[in-house]
């Protein structure tokens, strides 16, 4: 089912949380709303779910205007950052709750709960309580609970934010696979660009209540629409160009012992981080006091025999210039 949001505005007192936001989520997509905290991404998600009411604008689920529908009637599955499992109910009762309030019979409900317990790999855990599970298990239960009544849309608010790195990694892959299996239109909110790129097939970058850019992960990463997106999606160097600031990603720079052509800068190595396939080198430009980050493959790092304190020449292989980059 497609979701479309058109010209939505939301204020909290004087704070403009969403400033005329329009968004299309294609049927079966797994879309990430990505942005720094306070950018309005969670508010947008809650407006799609009906947990928050927009001051202006419309929300459509498929072709149906649901702007004024209560959350109960929208048939969405919502997964909360801190799981929000019903603490006094067993796992099975939690998962079956959406069916219970819809008056589904006991037998049918039990069958669906078993099916979902299997899907989240918690067979036999149905009679436990949420407090007896680990964070990752709880989040899977929250997901199963949201899916039980076969929602038309699945919405996830920072679903992995409260988990440690290893579990988070595992759950991301699992969510990706799950989405390939059940293909429900899904939107998830995250502030972690790596997570957005790894899980989503579409990424929407938000900032200060507005959408900065929407597209596939490759589009957004390779062709950032503006300086904010470029900056937010990864480490970036701002170098002085001819009368304007140029943006260069650390892996799009090279280091040479000899002075290269135009655009080459002399810089002194101040720090080296050799962990990982790319060696991260930090340099200080000789003419102007700016720090430059460069990532070089381990082999070329060894070839050049770079060491702390060396003065070398760095040059960008690819530069980007943005009209809005006055800063």
């Amino acid at each position: 089912m497609t979701i479309s949001v058109s010209h939505v505005v939301k204020r909290f007192g004087d704070f403009l949380a969403l400033d005329d936001v329009s968004l299309e989520v294609p049927d079966g997509a797994l879309l990430a709303l990505l942005g720094p905290s306070g950018c309005g991404k969670t508010t947008l998600l809650r407006i799609i779910a009906g947990l928050e009411v927009a001051d202006a604008g419309r929300v459509l689920h498929h072709a149906e205007d649901v702007t004024h529908d209560a959350a109960q009637d929208r048939n969405v599955g919502f997964v909360f950052q801190h799981y929000a499992l019903f603490r006094h109910m067993t796992i099975a009762d939690n998962i079956g709750y959406g069916l219970r309030v819809r008056g589904v019979g006991d037998r049918e409900r039990a069958a669906r709960v078993d099916e979902l317990l299997h899907l989240i790999r918690l067979d036999g855990h149905g009679d436990r309580y949420p407090s007896q599970l680990s964070g990752g298990q709880r989040q899977r239960v929250a997901l199963a609970r949201a899916l039980a009544a076969r929602p038309r849309v699945l919405l996830l608010d920072e679903p992995f934010g409260a988990l440690d790195a290893k579990v988070r990694q595992e759950l991301r892959r699992w969510l990706r696979r799950l989405h390939e299996e059940i293909h429900v239109t899904s939107v998830f909110v995250t502030h972690d660009q790596e997570e957005a790129f790894e899980v989503a097939d579409r990424v929407v970058v938000m900032n200060r209540g507005r959408i900065e850019q929407a597209g596939t992960p490759a589009d957004v990463f390779e062709q950032p629409a503006n300086a904010f997106v470029m900056d937010f999606l990864g480490n970036v160097n701002r170098l002085p160009g001819r009368g304007e600031t140029v943006f260069v990603r650390p892996h799009e720079m090279k280091i040479a012992r000899e002075r290269g052509g135009d655009g080459s800068l002399a810089a002194t190595i101040v720090h080296v981080n050799p962990t990982g396939p790319m060696v991260k080198v930090q340099l200080r430009a000789v003419d102007h006091d700016a720090l430059i980050d460069v990532e070089v493959p381990a082999e070329s790092f060894a070839e050049l025999a770079l060491a702390h304190g060396d003065t070398v020449h760095v040059s960008p292989r690819r530069v980007r210039v943005f009209a809005d980059a006055a800063s």
Binding site: A70, Q72, N75, F80, R87, R145
Partner: protein, 360 residues
Amino acid sequence: MPAETKKLRVEIRPRPAREDPPWVRRLAIAATLAIVALLIVIPVVNVFSEALADGIGAYWANLTRDDDTLHAIKLTFTVLPFALVLNVLFGVAAAYAISRFEFPGRAVLTALIDLPFSVSPVVTGLMFVLIFGLQGYLGPALRDDGHALLAYPVALLLVAVLAVAYAIVRPRNRRARRGLWKLHPALVVAGGGAAVFALAVAAQRALGVWPSGKSLEVIFAVPGLILVTSFVTAPFVARELIPVMDAIGPEEELAAVSLGASGWQMFWHVTLPNVKWGLVYGVILCTARAMGEFGAAYVVSGHIAGQTDTMPLRIEKLFQEYNLPGSFAVASLLTLVALATLVVKARLGREQARRAKGTP
């Protein structure tokens, strides 16, 4: 214990960085014990020893042979359920409103809930005498035609019940609303409420439900006792529930709503089970306080033996009449209630700690 081991123990015993010198600890513990013994244990034990001074038979006779005492016990247990029901309804509604909604006057309301705790019970009693007493605002009307006036609160109650029923039955989905359901809820509650109120009052009059020209006694009667007891104990349930609801937060409720639960279902399935221990706790404290209320009850009851004396008032009267065994017998009952409250409270505390650890 071999000397060697002992020596070793002394050496490895870690001394916490912020540990006070032993004499400070001993002094603090001794002072606390002395105060508790002097002010709490000895008087409480004394109540029971005085009550049982003439043997268990005399104790039992003191409680059951005296008609006025029996009446006082019955009256206390008549007033109690009214106060409890009123306070649970008020407490749950107030706590939910305060912890879940932002509205103007929220801070004022929170402060006002505590007012009955800070007002002296005697003043509380006087407040109600000034409203309902013969010289009070409503006094003359109540004296002339008090029973007939009951038609109004009964009609109001009916309107309230119907309004709640309307909120529950009204279809949530706009598309499912047909005919009269499409009317704006504010219009229905205001218009329908006024109509129901007028009809209910008229019907009660027509059917002669309440006798006319009969005076209704509030002060120096049971209704007054119910009013002051409810007022004095009003904060207990709300006070217990507000922090619990704040700590739990609205997320589980939102989850229930997103899963398709109606507000009514959300309340019974999620809100209430989550706060039930707080509620039980509030009810226990409320019970203890309601049974023990003296000052306000003294003012509004008129202290009429066999009619408006509650247990604490009866204790005082027996004491004034130099019937010490009788007085202490009734006092021992109230003390027992207090002790039972303590035990249940401690158990609930342990229960909650156990649940918090994750083995419900």
